[in-house]
Structure formats: structure tokens, C-alpha cells
Amino acid sequence: MAQAAGETLAQERLSIAARVMKSSLDLAGREPTMTAGLLVLFALVTVSLVAPFVVPNEPTKINMDARLEGPSASYWFGTDAFGRDVFSRTMSGGRISLLVAASVAVLAMAFGATFGALSGYFRKVDAVLMRVMDGLMAIPTVLLAIALMVILGASLQNVIIAIVIVDTPRMTRVARASVLSLREQPFVDAARALGAGNGRILLRHVIPNLMAPLIVMGTYVAASAMLTEAYLSFLGAGIPAVDNPSWGNIMAEGRGFIHKAMWVIFFPGLVLAITVTSINLAGDGLRDILDPKLAHRI
């Protein structure tokens, strides 16, 4: 008897595993572009993580005898003005760019959820907070980010801070819109009737329900943060290039040589474009699955 029960349990587990497999495959079939985006992204993250250990050359090693050489067997993406290997730099630069994207997305989501929840829930906070957000949104992203970099000074950390400030208003808007409809839901009334205070309602009932739209928005923010980092570097207000190659600053350094050494810009830009595209595709798919209504708002 006990043995039979064990068997059914094992069978049930097996069938659950099979169902999960099947439903993920179904999902992949329904959302082919999202699946492609996720796969490419996964590959890029993996490559970026192992890059420091496997790239053929030291990314920061200067070799004045091999300046601006075209792509070859020893330098796949060619070399830059200091004879550094563009392939090794691009592969290692991914770590910085992905770090910026991920940190900005997570921080902007955290601030967006907090501000959005407060703003959507308390009228007085709303009046002040949303005016500040509107004001920040009125300034073009690139210009605002550069202006912030002037105040903060050039460093990796400050690039992340500047882009978080630029992207938080958008996040807050999405969160606030959801909170405004959530606060009218019966389960919020129920919680209040049971004696829950504002803090508990916000933390336990409102914020968890914000996660779907915020995660979707988070992917778009990650993608745009990566581009903003590149623009900042390109305009000379980004991460100092000395020992932190990022896709943005590798291209910025190659800018003077497009005539004769296009590869210095071409390859990092191509990898950046592929990465941002796959994040955006993943975001689109995620949006369709998690929050179909959002399709009309973005």
C-alpha cells in the first residue's frame, strides 16, 4: 500500500516535470521572438561572465606595434589606436554594460515601486511627487544624464546613479497607474475591514501586485540604460575608459578613426545592438504574457 502510494507520488512528480517541460515548450512556440531574445541574452551573459578568463588577450594591454590593425586570426575584431585587442575588450566590456543595465533596472524598479505606491496611495504625496517626476521627464534623457554626470563626476557608480535618476520617473508612472486601480480592489477593502493599516496594505497587498507591470517595464529600462551608458561615454561624460572598458567607451575611443579603422566602433556597437534587441524582444514577450493590458500603454 505504502509502496503503491510512493509510486504514484513518483509518477505524479514525473508528470508534473513533463507538464512544466511541455508548457515551456508551448510558450516558446507561442512566443518565438521572446524565446530567441532570452536565448541570445543568456549566451551573452554567460560569455561576459567567463570572458576575463578566456579572452585571447589582456583587454587593457597596450601594444604600440599593432595599432589600428584590421580583423585577423590573432585579433578577431582588429585593434584600436593603442594596439589593444578589440575582441577581448568587447567581450570584457559586456560585464560593465550588463552591470549598468541590471543595476539601473533593479534600482529604478525599487524606487519606482516605492514612489509609485506612495503617490498612488496618498493624495498629498501624489501632488508633490508627480510634479517633480513630470519636471524630470521634461528634460531629454541624454541631456539630463550628462547634466547629472557634471554634478556627480565621472565614475561607474555615478553613471548608474545618473541613469537611475533619469529612468525612475517612467517607472514611477507605471507603478502609480497600477496602484490607482489596485487601491479600489475588493481585497484592499477586505484587508482594511480586517484592521490592516496603510503600511501593511501597501507592503502585503499593493506592492506584490505591482510586480508584473514593473518587471516588464524593468526590461525596457535595462535596455535603454545600456544605450544611455553608451551615449554618455560617446559624449565624453561616461565611465572613464582607463581600466573599465564598456561598449560605450570602446566606441567613444574609436570615434576619431572611422576613416581607417571602422572595426573599433563596428563590433562593440553590433554586440550592443544585439544585446539591447534581445532584451527588448524578451520584454515584449514578457509583457504579452504577464500584462496584456500594458500593450496599449507603452
Binding site: 521572438t33 510634479r131 517633480v132 513630470d134 519636471g135 524630470l136 521634461a138 528634460i139 531629454p140 534623457t141 541624454v142 541631456l143 539630463l144 550628462i146 547634466a147 557634471v150 554634478i151 563626476g153 535596455a223 544605450l227 553608451a230 551615449y231 560617446f234 559624449l235 565624453g236 561624460a237 566606441m251 570615434r255 572611422i258 576613416h259 571602422m262 566602433i265 563596428f266 556597437g269 550592443l272 545592438a273 539591447v276 534587441t277 532584451i279 527588448n280 524582444l281 515584449d284 500593450a295 496599449h296
Partner: protein, 318 residues
Amino acid sequence: MLAYIIRRLLTTIPVLVVVGLFTFFLLRLTPGDPAAVIAGNEATHEEYLEIRERLGLDAPLYVQLGKWAGRIVQGDFGTSIRSGKPVFDLVRGRIGPSVSLTIATELVAVLVAIPLGVLAAWKANSLIDRSVMVFAAVGFSVPIFWLGFIMIWVFGLWAFGLDNPILPVAGYVKIGDDLWEYVRHLILPAFSLGLVVIALIARMTRASVLEVLKEDYVRTARAKGIAEPAILIRHALRNASLPILTVVGLSLAGLLSGAVVTESVFAIPGLGRLAVEAIATRDYPIIQAMIILIGGFYVFINLAVDILYAFLDPRIRY
């Protein structure tokens, strides 16, 4: 209608105030004391104090803010630290190229994106639709300056080992000097800046046409035997035009952000380049003027779109 416009107009005031406050504090928060910079190392303490007084830096912050706001409202943006010229004159000289680039880009974007979006909606979920959508996703993701350099590389024929550009790859010609050259100089910048806008408008067009195609009157039109192109343009696109119009208007404001980058790539002497130059040389009065002007433009465009929206669709009253 008038009441709505006035109400909407009033909502712009707090936004402009926030932009103004941000700009004011941008200068105060920046490391470094302007008076010390102007005085230099040789100055005595008395000279330094005198400069501080002349610049009004010895007054309390709120007095400085009040005086500053008063000047800005009168259109006095001060003088450039570097060139000593009035900021207002410097900015005025840069407006032409930026406006030209913005209009050219928007024109290119609308002409490409709307047919693409309609096509994608018409053939929804087909290979064409998926391709347009992937193209749009790519359009959002390609760095503007990278695309610009690729275009320079290709159309400058450097990609083919030559050096005789078939299209101008840098600079700007005034419309009054030579109309043909004016247009030719805008082609590459407009396309490289336009890709993002094409993506944006194509997506919005697809979504709203798709919505309209489900309507009963479209089915009726089909049942009457009206040709598909006529249905798409007269019934679908016309009724889907409001959200498209909104996104066109908003992209106009967003273009200014991209123009900062594009003008730098194609050496166009516009507002964006002025801003970048000013940031590189820490020319704060110019940076302030740029943020206020562009922020103001953004607010104005938003206002115009909202009013136009209410005008075209009488059901809308917020």
C-alpha cells in the same frame, strides 16, 4: 473647450517650476566655486570677496534664486563664460539646424513608419507582421551614433576603399544658401536619427489599426465589397489616427534628446552640439539655457498634443 485649455495650461506651470529649480540647483550643486575660478590663484581674499559680491553669490540662496528666476522670465540667460557673448544670441544662431533636422527626421519617420504599421496590422501574425515587429525592436535598440557612423562609412564609400562621398557626411548648409545642398546634408542624419522614431510610430500604427480592423464598420465595408486598400486607408487608418498623432507629437519632443547625439556625429552646428560643447567646457549659463529651452519645448509639445487631441475627439475631457 476654453476651460479645458486653460486648465491644461495651468498644469504646465508646476512642471516648468520644477525644471527651473533643477536648473538653478544644478549650478549650485556642482563642485567648484565660480568666484574662485574667476578670481584665479593670484587674487587676494578681498578681490575674491568683491567678485563674490558682484556675482551675487554672497546673498542667501533664496535671494539668488529669486533674482535668477526674474532674469530667466525676462529671457535674460546671462553671458557665456567662455566666449563672453550673450547666451540668448548663441542659442538663437543654433536653432535653425536643429529645427531642420527635427522636421526632416519626423518626415522620414512618418513616411516610412505608417505604411509599415498598416501593412503589419493588415497581415497580422503573418511573416510580414513578425518581420516589421522585429525590425521595430531592432530600431529601438541600435545606438543612434553607431548607426550614424555606419552610414557615414557606407555613404562616404570608405567601406569600399574609396573616399568620395555620394552624400554629404558632415556639416550643414543654410536653406537660403543652397536648397539642394540643404536637403542633401540632412538625409543621412535624418535617417540615422529617424530609425527609433520609425520603430515607435510603426508599433503604434500597427496596434491602433489592428484595434480598428475589429470594428463592425470594417466588416460592413468588406461585405459591401469595398477594395482592401480603400478600407485600410479610409476606414482603418483614419479612425486609428488619434493615437498615431499623439505618438508623432511626443516623438517630436523626444527627438531633441537624440539630436544631441546625432548633431555630434554629423558635425551639425545645432542646439545639441552647443549643449555638448557647453558641458565639455563647463559653460553653465549655456547648459542652463539649454535645459530650460528644451524642457519648455517638451512641455509645449505635450500641451499642443493634448489640446489637438481634445479638438479632434470631442469625447475627451479630462
